[in-house]
Structures are given as C-alpha cells and as structure tokens.
C-alpha cells in the first residue's frame, strides 16, 4: 500500500508559505501600489510611495523580507469534507511549519506570553498560529492561505456595536473615524477590512477575512459591494495620505465581509492591513499534490 505523508506535506507547505509571503508580495498588491504612486500629488506622499516601490524591488533583488515584522502567522483553511487529514493534524502541521520557517530562515520571533511578555520561541505558542476554518462539502482538497499580520496595523483594530437606527450611515461614520484616528500608525496606504453583522466577535473575524482578499476584489452581494466602493472613495478624501504625512492616497482598497445578524444588532469591526499586505496560498490535493498561488 502506498501512503502519502499528508501531514508532512502540509507542514512543508506552511513553512514555504510563511517565508514566501514575507518576501514576495502579490502582483495585485504591486499593481495597487504602482497605481497609488501615479495618483499621489503631495511631496511627502510621493516620497513615501517611491520608497515603498524601491523597497519591494530590493526585497526581490536581495531575496530579503519586505518588512521586518514577521507578524503573527494567521492561516485560513478551506478543508474539503473528503480531505484525508483531520483538521487536528492540519493544525499541528501548520504549527510545525511556522516553527521550522522561523528557525531555519531565521525569522524574527514575535510571540510572547500576553501577561509575562516572555518570548515563547519560534513564532508559535498557546493558540498561535491563528487558524480560520471553513469546511467545504463534496470536495477532497485543502486550500491554505498564510497571512503574516504585523502589529502596527493590527493595533489599529476597532469595534463598535452600532444600533439598527444608525443604519449604513453609522457604519460609514465609524469606519471613517477609525481610519482618521489611526493616522500614520498602521502604515498607510493599506487595505481597510470591515466586518459587519453577525456578533461582536464574528464581525472582527470577518474584518480579518476582508483584509486577506486579493486587492480590489468585490463582495458578491451587490449591497456590500456598493458599500465597499463608497467607503473606498470616502476614505481617500480624508487626506491622511501615505504614512500619515498627508496626501491623496490613504487606502489602497476597502473590503467588506458580512454576516446576517440579530434584528437589534448592527456590529461594525475594522481591521487594518498595512501596505505590505502579505499573503500566499497553497492548494493541496488529497493525493498530496501542491500548487502555490495567490488566488484566494
């Protein structure tokens, strides 16, 4: 009988994804940054964007990390119901891959105990890495997306339990206030992820899903897609600009994810992703075949 070491394959894929995501930013993001550099008219803003483009080029040429903040490793897994490795083993493999990448590269280790602040070692620890799970009926594959999430942008996360009477206007106001308040801290221009509906915790979960989408993709629900377009325009009118030094380009995109909610709830969560919006994906088949891309 031929057996496939699927756990080993997932571990290898995770180790590769983490380093690859940190070094080589996706083409859709590169295009958005180049477009931003063309649109920006302020002098400090142009200086920031041309430095960013130069930095991306140097990371390519020298095979170095785009940003030193290797973040916390966040994975999104879409697991087919017939994928022959249990999610408990998938989690163990993602953890082992994260540790291996950290030690072998080496990558800066950021993970600390949240009270003692002692470093826990190779970017893993209690409940680290973080994994978002989705289970897909009638499928035998596994898609894994790695999103190393830096702290500068993660510190700029905001939640408001709006009331139904606040409506969409309340949602827009809260997103605008949040991004103006964040100023230059989350390394703008980045991707504003907004989660609406569900519950308090689920809205923030959705906001994190939103920042990890390919740049400029639109929500399939036309009501939500319209909100994305409107917020994108409004946010760029605030004048915060690249690195908060003032300018025309405050955000590269605004993505919104939604869940249906209770009739008396209207939660809004904002999660920011910096300009170095790193993400990389592996598609793993039930026989162990692996393809890497940035397709989800």
């Amino acid at each position: 009988m031929i057996t496939t070491d699927l756990e080993g394959i997932v571990e290898d894929a995770a180790a590769h994804l983490y380093v690859w995501a940190l070094k080589d930013i996706p083409q859709d993001l590169r295009d958005a940054l180049a477009d931003a550099a063309k649109r920006e008219t302020s002098v400090p803003g142009q200086r920031v964007l041309s430095t960013i483009l130069k930095n991306v080029q140097i990371a390519d040429d020298q095979q170095n990390l785009v940003c030193q903040d290797t973040g916390i490793a966040v994975y999104t897994c879409h697991v087919g119901e017939r994928f022959p490795l249990h999610p408990a083993r998938i989690y163990a493999a993602l953890k082992a891959g994260t540790e291996r990448a950290t030690i072998e590269h080496p990558l800066r280790s950021n993970a600390v105990h949240t009270i003692t602040r002692e470093n826990t070692g190779p970017n893993t620890g209690h409940r680290l890495p973080i994994v978002h799970w989705e289970f897909v009926p009638e499928w035998d594959g596994l898609d894994v997306k790695c999103v190393p999430k830096g702290s500068g942008s993660e510190n700029m996360s905001f939640l408001k339990m709006c009331i139904p009477a606040d409506g969409v206007k309340g949602i827009k106001q809260f997103v605008l206030e949040s991004i103006v308040g964040a100023g230059g801290k989350p390394c703008p221009p980045g991707i504003v992820g907004v989660g609406i509906g569900g519950s308090a915790d689920y809205a923030m979960y959705l906001a994190k899903e939103a920042i990890a989408r390919p740049v400029g993709t639109r929500n399939p629900d036309p009501h939500v897609a319209k909100l994305e377009e409107e917020l994108f325009e409004l946010l760029n009118e605030t004048g915060i600009g690249p690195m908060g030094l003032g300018g025309d380009v405050t955000v590269l995109q605004c993505h919104v994810e939604h869940a249906d909610t209770h009739m008396t709830l209207n939660p809004v969560a904002v999660n920011y992703q910096c300009w170095a919006a790193r993400r990389a994906t592996a598609h793993i088949g039930s026989g162990g075949e692996v393809e890497f891309d940035r397709e989800f």
């Binding site: 170095n64 100023g183 690195m243």
Partner: protein
C-alpha cells in the same frame, strides 16, 4: 521643504536648522531601541550602557543572526510604530541629550512641546520598507541588554539612511498635528454628506 544630510551624533544647533517637511538623509551612528528597552530605562530606572548624547534613536526590534558572543549580523531591520513610546520623549531629551527620534507613524501632540524646548526632532521613516533600510545599515557595532532580544539597545553604523521626513521640528511644528486637524474638519464635511 528641502533636502538635507546630517551625521549623528549631532548638536542642538544642527537640529534647530531642520523644519517640518524637510527631507533628510543620515550618516554615522543610529541607536536602536523599543518599548521594553525604554521601560527598563525609565520605569525600572536602569542607566543605558551607551552614550545617548546627541544621538539619533530608531524605534526598532531588528531581525538578526547571531555570529558569536555579542556579535550579530543583520537579516532584516525595519521600524516600528512610534506612538506607543511618546511618554519617553521628554526624558530622552532632558536626561540623556538625545537629538532625534525616528520611527513610523508619528508621535502624538504631547511630543511637540518637549521637542521645541529641548531642541529635538522626530523623523518619519517609511514603515515596512525594511529591505531598503537593511541595505543602509552597514554594521551592527554593539548590542547591550541582549536578554531583551529583540528589544535590546543596538548601535548601528549607517550610510544614506532614509529618506526621512522631518515630522516634528524643534520650532513647534508637527505634520501629524496638521494632517489630523485637516482630516477632522474634512470628517465633519463628509459626515454631513452621508
């Protein structure tokens, strides 16, 4: 707005020549430190084992490879968010003679007055541009407080470090303050339109 070059450590006189919005490139020595380093200096009252007089401080926790005892090689060195460390500004200037603080995202308004009075500047660097920043750091010359890794006290020798934008000058001006004021007015206008 003009483009300037400065070598650190430097003097109050040189720092006073800078104005908000100026573009600056830096040579010489840069001292790297972060949250835990400054908590140790100010909250735990420990004397930093490096001379900070006239110094350029960089908010960083670098990615490095250990070569031997006290010797490190750069892997990827970038800059962290400054705002978390604003409360140390006055002490750094008054007690240790620091002339420049560099980081990303700006310092809140409470830094404006001490920087004006003591003759200090805040340099805004491009956050996330660590691949570039790493090429501008020639060597890690010294490391102190290694037990705080990676939030030690680092001494780097740099060349053509930048481009930096003077975000807060020693004359009471802050680009961040101005941008926030304009954005808040703009928000009122946008809210009325929603």
């Amino acid at each position: 707005m003009s483009s300037k070059r400065l070598t650190f450590p430097t003097t109050e006189e040189e720092v006073r020549k800078l104005h908000a919005g100026d573009e600056v490139l830096v040579d010489g020595h840069v001292i790297g430190l972060r949250d835990r380093t400054q908590i140790r200096i100010f909250d735990q009252g420990m004397q930093p084992p490096m001379d900070l007089n006239g110094a350029f401080l960089l908010h960083t926790a670098p990615g490095v490879r250990k070569l031997g005892p006290g010797k490190y090689e750069k892997v990827c060195i970038g800059t962290t968010t400054s705002a978390r460390m604003v409360r140390f500004t006055e002490g750094l200037g008054e007690q240790y003679g620091v002339r420049a603080i560099a980081g990303k995202g700006g310092l809140p308004d409470e830094a404006i007055e001490p920087m004006r009075r003591l003759g200090m500047v805040y340099f805004a660097i491009v956050g996330g541009a660590a691949a570039l920043e790493t090429t501008q750091i020639e060597e890690i010359e010294e490391v102190a407080w290694e037990e705080l890794m990676p939030e030690c006290l680092w001494k780097f020798r740099v060349k053509d470090f930048g481009p930096l934008t003077v975000g807060i000058d020693s004359h009471g001006n802050s680009l961040f303050h101005d941008v926030q004021e304009r954005a808040k007015k703009k928000l009122e206008e946008l809210n009325a339109r929603l």
